[in-house]
Structures are given as C-alpha cells and as structure tokens.
Symmetry: C2
Subunit: 253 residues, 2 copies
Amino acid sequence: MKPLILVSNDDGIHASGVHALIDVLVNLGEVVVVCPDSPQSGQSMAITSNSMLRIKQVEDYNGAKMYKVNGTPVDCIKLAMHTVLCRKPDLVVSGINHGSNASINAMYSGTMGAAFEGCAFGIPSIGFSLTDHSADADFTYCLSFVETISKAVIEKGLPEGVALNVNIPDCFPHPTEMRLTKGCKGKWTDEYKEYVDPSGKKFYLLTGKFINEEPDNTDTDEWCLSHGIVSVVPVALDRTAPISNCKISQLLT
Amino acid sequence: MKPLILVSNDDGIHASGVHALIDVLVNLGEVVVVCPDSPQSGQSMAITSNSMLRIKQVEDYNGAKMYKVNGTPVDCIKLAMHTVLCRKPDLVVSGINHGSNASINAMYSGTMGAAFEGCAFGIPSIGFSLTDHSADADFTYCLSFVETISKAVIEKGLPEGVALNVNIPDCFPHPTEMRLTKGCKGKWTDEYKEYVDPSGKKFYLLTGKFINEEPDNTDTDEWCLSHGIVSVVPVALDRTAPISNCKISQLLT
C-alpha cells in the first residue's frame, strides 16, 4: 500500500505553494489535501468552536483529492481525520508557506499549526516555508528539499511529539545545503500602523520589523537563511520547560 | 513605583474570571486590562492580519483601567504594548480561564496565547485557568493561589522565554496545595458532531472527549488536577526540540 500523505496549508487552497507541494508528494504516495478555503496566515493552532464548520470536495489536482474547509489549518487536519481519511496518514505536510516561519514566526504560523496538529495525532509532520511572501513566489527550487525530507520522514519517522519546521531561503544562487538547527531568538517591533477612519476613529493594521536578537549565533535558523542554507528545526508539540530549573522551583516554596 | 500589571484573557472583557483576577491584582500593583471584546477561546497564538483592529477604553473596574479589542488575546497584548502602556509591565497575567488548559489544551488556549505573547515581549507571564467551564464558575478559592504566584513572580521573575501555565481544579474540598509539574500526554477524540442543515448540507460542531494517555503518571498536570492539587507548569515560548536527537540528525544524512 502506498504511503498516505495528508497535506494542508494556511495560505488557502488556491495558493501556488500548496500546488508545488502536491506536485512533489504525488510521487511519494497517495495524497489527500484539506486546506482552508481562504487565507489563514497567523492562525497558529487556533480552532473553531461554536461555529459551523463545513468541508467540501473540489476538483482533483494532479491525482490528489482536494477538499476545502471554512476554518483554520488545525480545523483542516482535525476534519480530515474525522471525516475524510479511512486510515491514519503516514505523513502530514503543511505549506509551502509564502513567507518565513523561522524564529518567533513559527509561534504564530498557521502552517506550523497544521504540522503541530498532525503531530498531536501521532503522525510524523512537517511544515515547509519559503522566505518569499509574494503570491507568485518561485517554488521550483524548493522541490528537491521537499522531496528529500518528506521521503526521509516517511521512511524513518520522527520522534514522538516532534515535528519539523523547514524554512527555505529565497536567494540566488539557490540553496544547495540544508542544516539541522534551532529557532533563533527574535522579536517584532513597530507592529502597527495607525489609521483614522472617516468618522474620526483610530484603527490599526499589523505590520512590523523583525529583529534578530542573536545575529552572530551561527546555530540558528535565521543565520542559515541569511547564508543561503535551508534550515530544519525539530519542534516539540509539548511546551513544558525543564522543571529542574531552580528559579521556578523557588516560586512555590 | 508600583509594579505595572497587564491583564488579558480569552473569554472576553465581560467574563467573571478576569474580574476575579483583577480583584486580586489591584492589591499588588497598577493594573491595566486589555481583553477581547468577544469570546476568543481556542485562539492559541493567532494574530489578526489584514483586518482593522480597534482598541477602546471602557469603564474602570475596581481601580483598573479597562480596554477592549476586536481581536485575539495575542492582539490584545500587542496593542496594549503599542498603544496603551507607557512603560514595560512587570507582569502579564491572563485568565482566569473558564475551563482547563492542562495537557494539550494549552496548545489551543487563547489564555496561554496571551501569556506566551507577554513572554515574547520579555515580560514574566502567567496564565491561570479553573477547570470549570461555566460562565458563573466560583473563582473565590482561586484567589489565594493567584496572589501567591503572582507576587512571587513579580518579586523573583521567571527565566527568559518561560511562562507559567497554572490550572486550578474545580473540586471540593477546595485545593490547598500546588505543585510544579509538566504537561500530560493527552489527546481529544470524537471531536465533531455532524449536523445536516435545512438545505441538506452537512456541517460540524466541535465537541470531543479528552483522553489522558498517561493516567498513572503522578508527575503531570492532569494527575494533580484529578487529585485536588493546583498544577503549575513552566512552558517555553520557543519550541525547538533538542537537536542532539540522533533520529532527526539521520534525516539529513
């Protein structure tokens, strides 16, 4: 039996990134795609409660069955598992995201939300992102990395509770190397632009500048990306920090 | 100068849980409250992009300045930092949530989303939850725990990149003990109820049963809660898993 691969994303079912992903994955197994029906960037692991969720089959693409959901990336994975799939997938792949999910961006990322949800179901899961936000980003040179990593994960699996966050730099010459690394310390600043509506009331739109807080640390995803290297960060579903930490223990005494 | 405490939640500005929280925190410092204007349960670290955000001051409560935002818990923290506060808070507190945020629930939790966002700003941050979903939950016996932990965190701080996820069991006799523990392995099953709308089309509403995957492990938040003990889990903002893990290293070779 061919491996079963569940695909989702956060840019929505019409994004070119997910089509690039499918083009590769149909060579590795049976592909079922369940994506949001509209862009869901920045949805993290948000779930829809108290409102009606619908899942609708749309036209096949390149041999893959395609479905759209009026919800978040996590909703897509949950509904796929509940309503569409007859067996547990061998792999969940999310992306390819239009834009970086390195450093702190991984926390807000809907792409990674879907990968974490796959991980919560005990399925080896990967999120892929390209550091180019544009709708017509060129994903062609991402495909060999997607294939290599996806194939390896199907064959070897991943440790329980761990997913992969893969970021591919938008650079020329195109990347030829990938490296296992870790999330960079970083933050966003100047996050809102202020506007005044016609009635005189203020409103805000999200924007901002990313600040790398450890630019000289060669052992981070941001360093890899700025040096033309594909970064692969293993990320844990459970966020429990080591509890041997003395400072925290003292709090309760 | 009194400590500055920023408060948010995911149940919205009218929830009784946040009022209980404020009642305690006004004794510890100057309190500014920025909450969603509507319930935002399950919003994780979702952020609002590409739509208009507004922040509006409403009537003071018990000496605390109160604001509401038409967005997620993370939006509330970001907008508070950007538009309301003149200095960096000494503490961010989110909650008290109506319902458990133990185990995997912490991943979807908007309450914890706000706490993680506080953490991202480098502020010691805590999420408090009571394992009672009802709108009229009795928060009175939570207050001494909120006070003890908040006071300790103001005084001693928290390690960089680490927040606290505090869950208080809804039980009688009321809890008298708290314990430093870790997130329990667990999952949700039977997550959707299927309906048919008047036009014959299916839709789904979120529901589900929680399954504790390590019921005999005494070193988990779920064990504490089922034994009448307040659980305190230190949680990391960054999710990078240890990269020494051989199985992952092999993937790239």
